[in-house]
Symmetry: C2
Subunit: 253 residues, 2 copies
């Protein structure tokens, strides 16, 4: 049975998509079968793996609306072992459309159950909000991976997200747990990065991953080639950090 992990943080630009794509690629490279689900209307995980969000059909939108089966939406990526359930422009309207649907928070969970036996890991890339798309992801997940950018403004939201996860566990999904906090865009030239890491270590010592992702321009270049960092520049510091994260996750599991 697959382990389903949501990659979530309502703070924007903290490295959710970058983590979902690259962790997915290294888990696949280690021989696991991985499905990446793009639950963000921006569809950055979809385009970051080389697909055009305006052309994919069906997408996760049709699956959530009950108009297509998840198996019909799944695409094979260039990285063997890493499949993608793509996002599309239609997903932008899903939040409002789902408000009045029955069991609106459960739609992704039910869809994932139909294909869970084919995968070892399912990673869900979430949008930067705590609306119905993120709630669907948290309800479907066994655990949450929370990227935390090494910046002051990113610190503020971690507490809010931890309490949201607790709310979801109490009301919608009793098995949900926090798998770990991943420090991202660590810049060793500034004091700020280390201050933020120290602050997170103080508040959540049990939850922080050992792997820390450094700021690395190679990570931000890779999606423009439709590739993960593993296929773009495996020798880079960013690639090594995501490889070490995949190893850490596999060891924990």
């Amino acid at each position: 049975m697959a382990r389903t992990y949501a990659v979530a943080n309502q703070k924007g630009g903290v490295g959710k998509t970058t983590t979902a794509i690259n962790l997915g690629a290294y888990l696949a490279a280690s021989g696991r079968k991985v499905l990446l689900v793009d639950m963000d209307p921006q569809a950055n995980a979809t385009s970051g793996l080389g697909f055009d969000k305006a052309e994919v059909s069906p997408s996760i939108y049709e699956v959530l609306m009950g108009q297509a089966k998840l198996a019909e939406a799944i695409l094979l990526t260039n990285r063997v072992g890493l499949d993608l359930a793509p996002s599309s422009i239609g997903l932008a309207g899903a939040e409002v459309e789902m408000v009045s649907l029955m069991a609106r928070e459960q739609r992704l969970r039910r869809a994932l159950q139909t294909i869970a036996n084919r995968y070892d890991y399912i990673l869900v890339d979430c949008p930067p909000s705590l609306g119905l798309l993120t709630l669907n992801s948290l309800t479907a997940a066994d655990g949450v991976i929370i990227p935390v950018q090494c910046e002051y403004l990113a610190l503020e939201g971690v507490g809010q997200l931890v309490s949201t996860v607790n709310l979801v566990r109490d009301n919608l999904n009793s098995r949900l747990r926090i798998v770990g906090l991943l420090m991202t865009m660590y810049d060793s030239r500034t004091n700020l990065s280390q201050q933020v890491v120290d602050e997170v270590c103080n508040h959540f010592p049990q939850l922080i991953f050992r792997s820390i992702v450094p700021r690395s321009v190679r990570l931000s270049e890779a999606p423009s080639y439709g590739k993960s960092i593993l296929d773009y520049d495996p020798a880079s510091k960013g690639a090594q950090a995501y490889k070490s994260l995949a190893d850490e996750l596999i060891t924990r599991d």
Copy 2:
């Protein structure tokens, strides 16, 4: 009468809050009366100016719900001439609560009309989504300032935002126009930044601001002191970029 500008982009972490705070500070320093409205449940503009989102009351949430007048929610900041209508944790629930309210997109516009004669500029910091909070901001605004991070993934969303602005102009607010695209976090050591600037110049030559905000750690340190960059480090490159943006805006107006 105040000019109302929404600072919006559904892509996360592109510099919306940093732009709203610092552009606001420099407009105030030039003698204009400025109101900053924090429409993001993360309340980064509120904490970035030194306030605690858990303690402010009433906040913009009570104003949108019709439980308080906007004038009652306005706070004076340390920067003379810059006032703040703060966000609070309650705002996180507003998107779902507003779906069933009458004239749900117009609530901010109506609130701003009650105080518009006291200000020269009203800047609205938006969350990283195109939900009801951003729609309220676009419906209330005369124009939209779109921060665009000098990164590949940030390029993808600009087209989608431009078409959303056109939809809002056609259906909710006929005066809405794009004031400009502000390139942010420009890193002169990488080719990627220049490639992104060139791409935006090619697609939207009329819309791009001359001022470009460089990546500068001083900008990301300032909010941890509850200060704008003008009050934290006015000699920094980031400060000079926001001063030049304020001058550009004043000249255009």
